[in-house]
């Protein structure tokens, strides 16, 4: 349970990033499959080189932002299709990771990790912790961090700049007609999103104690599943609910996975099951809820139009 919770919060950063591109900007950014392990690789390399873990995790995130910029520039300046731009960047990232790490993986168990460092900074020595204490401690750290990021995003998306990002996803022609260069908003969003994803990868590497070039496989589908769980339970009630919902979605998804592992369910099937669930979640509502949805919007329409009843 606690492992699921911890993982859910770590992957929550990624879910927020994926929400930003896929859902808010309407940009299916596949870069994240590469950005996630890139964040881990850069962090691991930095730690091995003697950088302190907090700085290392931030460097991991910044590497992700650069990857996002690469996809963004390819798409906006070179007119490469959005999905292809993400695939090209991801492919390039694998080379960058292997060159950075010098090999496919780096173990970090011998180094003080991010969480130990934070415990130390608040005057605690994690060596004396029981396993449960340690787990709860890391969850608290993550909870504070993810809450701060969530609040920051909520605030940012309400600023003049944030509004342009949301409207670029909603009606690009309209916001351009109001004087916004949508190439810039896309680039900025991709950088923020990939920062969050790489940051998520960096924290995953710190919590697992290693970085591996293969650790990005399937993380995108899992993040999409988390976003969907979040939307299902908490979405459609405003942006701020959605941000919180996506984090909770990630926690729910990872907790379910952890339970599955506890129950000795075959772990090799999880990715297929996730993919099928996402597919079902995508297809089913379109078939079923359509009739309901129109009813709801009709209701709003009727109750909302005091002025022109005769229309």
């Amino acid at each position: 349970m606690t492992t699921g919770m911890q993982q859910g919060l770590i992957y929550g950063f990624m879910a927020l990033g994926v929400l930003l591109t896929f859902r808010i900007l309407g940009f299916p950014d596949l870069t994240v499959e590469g950005t996630f392990p890139l964040g881990a690789a850069v962090t691991a390399k930095a730690v091995v080189e003697g950088v302190d873990p907090i700085m290392a995790v931030i460097l991991g995130g910044l590497a992700g932002a650069l990857a996002g910029a690469s996809t963004g520039l390819m798409h906006t300046k070179l007119n490469v299709n959005n999905i292809l731009a993400g695939i090209l960047t991801t492919s390039g990232i694998y080379t960058v990771m292997l060159r950075t790490m010098g090999r496919p993986n780096i173990p970090l168990l011998a180094h003080t990790n991010f969480f130990d460092w934070v415990f130390m900074m608040v005057g605690l020595s994690s060596e004396n912790f029981s396993f449960l204490q340690y787990q709860v401690g890391t969850i608290l750290i993550l909870l504070v961090m993810v809450t701060a990021v969530r609040a920051g995003m909520g605030w940012f998306l309400g600023t003049d700049l944030g509004l342009t990002i949301r409207s670029t996803g909603n009606n690009e022609g309209m916001i351009r007609s109001l004087g916004v260069n949508t190439d810039h908003t896309k680039l900025l969003t991709l950088m923020i999103s990939n920062f969050l994803v790489a940051f998520s990868g960096a924290l995953a590497c710190q919590s697992q104690g290693f970085a591996d070039v293969g650790m990005g496989i399937g993380v995108l589908v899992a993040a999409i599943a988390s976003v969907m769980v979040g939307e299902m339970f908490f979405g459609h009630k405003g942006l701020s609910r959605l941000l919180t919902g996506v984090i909770l979605g990630s926690v729910i998804y990872r907790t379910l996975l952890a339970i599955g592992i506890r129950l000795n369910l075959p772990a090799e099937d999880f990715k297929m099951v996730t993919a099928l669930l996402v597919l079902a979640a995508l297809v089913l509502p379109n078939l079923k809820i359509k009739s309901k949805k129109t009813k709801v919007s009709e209701k709003i329409r009727l109750s909302g139009c005091g002025g022109d009843k005769n229309d």
Partner: protein, 263 residues
């Protein structure tokens, strides 16, 4: 205010489907003019407005807006001076965002957008006042997503959005065509009022000949990418719909065959 010199716009050049959408367009429009534009389908009316706003680039010729040569400027740069509304009520507003968020974005037209909150008490007050002028009660519904508004309400909001940041120029491409008659009249009356109060230069495409005669101080008719009629204020005041059709037939050499409303 606007000056087009020898403007050409060709779609699918050097192919069998080549379309000469603008064929040596020349026009000068003075500050404060309210020009109505009519013409048969495919005459190039929308393209004319699109090359002014920068949605389409020109193949030849120059465009000046407010004394500046904007021919090579992208749309987002010209947007500083130009407010526009499309025929499609979905096009000019962001449906998933609230009324106040839409207005906040419109209010920042041509200004630097930074990390200030888009909505604050002062702006809310201003938005409410601007919406109250429309007389549709929208000022009480600032936090409602725009998708829940009727087409007429959306176009009314679009009109407020297009003009709240005091542009120099207002471009209207059949902005009441998709509305039912009652909503169309409301939006048209509102347009008339805002253009007069804010002393805007405005260009309005319409398929309604009566509307074209009734509003504005100048009427132009387009055909095959050119202006074939240009009628000033005095002549326009005496003009009737049937005279206008006669003049069209004489000037274009074809009968007026399209979806023009002769109401």
């Amino acid at each position: 205010m606007i000056k087009l010199k020898h403007v050409y716009k060709i779609f699918f050049p050097n192919t069998a489907n080549e379309v000469l959408a603008l064929n040596d367009m020349n026009i000068e429009i003075n500050p404060g003019d309210f020009v109505t534009i009519i013409g048969s389908n495919g005459a190039g009316k929308s393209t004319f407005l699109k090359v002014i706003s920068g949605i389409e680039t020109v193949d030849e010729g120059t465009i000046e807006v407010a004394g500046q040569n904007v021919t090579g400027d992208p749309e987002y740069k010209r947007a500083k001076y130009i407010g526009r509304i499309d025929q499609d009520p979905m096009a000019s507003t962001a449906s998933e965002m609230t009324i106040e968020e839409n207005l906040a974005m419109a209010y920042m037209r041509g200004k630097r957008r930074g990390l200030h909150q888009g909505i604050n008490a002062e702006r809310k007050q201003m938005f409410q006042e601007a919406l109250a002028d429309t007389g549709l009660g929208l000022e009480k519904r600032l936090q409602v997503p725009v998708r829940t508004l009727s087409g007429g309400q959306r176009q009314a909001l679009a009109l407020v959005m297009a003009t709240i940041a005091e542009p120099k120029l207002l471009l209207l491409d059949e902005h009441t065509a998709a509305l039912d008659p009652k909503a169309a009249k409301q939006v048209m009356d509102m347009t008339h009022k805002i253009v007069a109060v804010k002393k805007l230069t405005a260009l309005m495409i319409t398929h309604n000949m009566e509307q074209a005669i009734q509003f504005g101080n100048r009427l132009i008719m387009m055909h095959r990418g050119r202006i074939i009629l240009d009628i000033g204020q005095e002549e326009k005041a005496r003009l009737t719909v049937s005279q206008l059709i006669e003049q069209f037939t004489a000037a274009s050499g074809t009968a007026f065959a399209d979806r023009v409303l002769l109401s």
